[in-house]
Amino acid sequence: MAELSTWETLPVAGAVRPGGAPRTLTSGWRTGEKPAVDLSLCVNCLLCWLYCPDSAVELSAETFTGFDLDYCKGCGICADVCPVAAITMVPE
């Protein structure tokens, strides 16, 4: 564990500031499939964004733009809730 820090250098009580905190990629959790969108169909209802358990639906301002596949775990919920079937789960 040599790369991890020693006790003198840890924040008091282990209080973590989100800014500097490490984030683990969870793309590897996907079990073979990932979401893909056909933007031409998307009506920007944002339901996929609301339901995504991994905050992996990306917006610019209030517009759906796609998926952050670094964190998407491939659950398929977005595809299931999309009212216009703009999202499909496709093999990796």
Partner: protein, 317 residues
């Protein structure tokens, strides 16, 4: 502007709970967290009871939380929130807080941390009248330590401590009616909601935060792992709970009951058959049990409707 757009706007480009956590694929909890926190316009402080949400989002030295977040233990979230809220009151009274700065104190606790080991702290906080919002994400079992029975586990469900077996049909008792217990505390706002009925939930959050005193939200939230369903089916499973009247959506404002959604009164099988934990109930010898469940649902529904003023005014879009 649509409520969902408002929700997006409220969070000002920062997801309160970001990706990179280790909640299971398809876990139902994050959608509740997002709907609740992004509906609230005030800055928030989150108090979290031990459970899946807490354990899976804050492994040191990482964190998935972009808002102030506090975890002390499993059973005391409401007490911790009482302390935060009292400090806020004291500091404001002493002008030690930036004038006008109001912070919403929001608790997230699972059913275990609400119905069972967390009940007493919650009850005390409700009685004292602290101004905070307690959100129970009710996935009907102790999921974090491995799907054990809780007071919220429904009659007949198989869990690792109430397993179906040669001489057992799963949990032998009916679920504790936590929403009714909260209502009995005569607090300004109590509501029952469901994770995927996001609009209804969001409206309730708004009313809860506006209430002058404690508010309690009991939100049915699916757990694909503990319930035994495919992760992408969250919405269908939760909808089944609502449409079969197993989980009525309603609110009680200053004592007045109101249904917020009129369900289809589908047979309870539709809810039971959607999950592995109920599979054993469909064995021929258990038909009787399903009948009992249906009866219970019917009589609970009748009792609830009896208390409601008028009929459902839906808060769903």
């Amino acid at each position: 502007m649509s409520r969902l757009k408002t929700i997006v706007r409220n969070q000002r480009g920062v997801q309160p709970l970001r990706g990179g956590h280790s909640l299971c694929q398809g876990c139902g909890i994050p959608m509740v967290v997002r709907t609740v926190l992004s509906t609230i316009r005030l800055p928030v402080v989150v108090v979290n009871a031990t459970g899946c949400l807490e354990v899976a989002t804050t492994r040191f030295p990482g964190t998935a939380w972009n808002v102030p977040w506090l975890h002390v233990a499993f059973e005391n979230a409401a007490a911790v929130a009482s302390g935060v809220e009292s400090a806020q009151r004291a500091l404001r009274r002493r002008h030690a807080l930036p004038a006008g700065q109001e912070v919403a104190v929001v608790v997230f606790a699972g059913d275990g941390g609400t119905y069972d080991i967390g009940l007493q702290a919650l009850s005390g906080a409700l009685e004292r009248g602290h101004r905070f919002l307690f959100v129970c994400y009710d996935n009907e079992a102790y999921m974090n330590p491995g799907v054990q029975r809780s007071g919220a586990t429904p009659f007949g469900a198989s869990t690792t401590t109430s397993p179906a077996g040669l001489e057992s049909f799963g949990k032998a008792q009916r679920r504790k009616d936590m929403t009714a217990i909260a209502i009995a505390h005569h607090v300004p706002y109590v509501a029952q909601a469901a994770s995927t009925h996001w609009h209804d939930l969001s409206v309730k959050v708004e009313r809860a935060v506006a209430a002058h005193g404690p508010a309690f939200l009991n939100v049915l939230t699916d757990c694909p792992v503990g319930w035994g369903h495919e992760p992408q089916l969250s919405r269908r499973v939760i909808d089944a709970a609502v449409e079969t009247c197993f989980w009525p959506l309603y609110e009680v404002v200053e004592g007045h009951y109101r249904l917020t959604y009129e369900p289809q009164h589908a047979p309870v099988d539709e809810w039971l058959c959607s999950q592995q934990r109920f599979a054993h109930l469909f064995r021929p010898e258990n038909a009787e049990l399903i009948r009992r469940i249906q009866e219970q649902v019917d009589s609970d529904w009748a009792a609830l409707v009896g208390r409601c003023d008028g009929t459902a005014r839906s808060t769903d879009p």
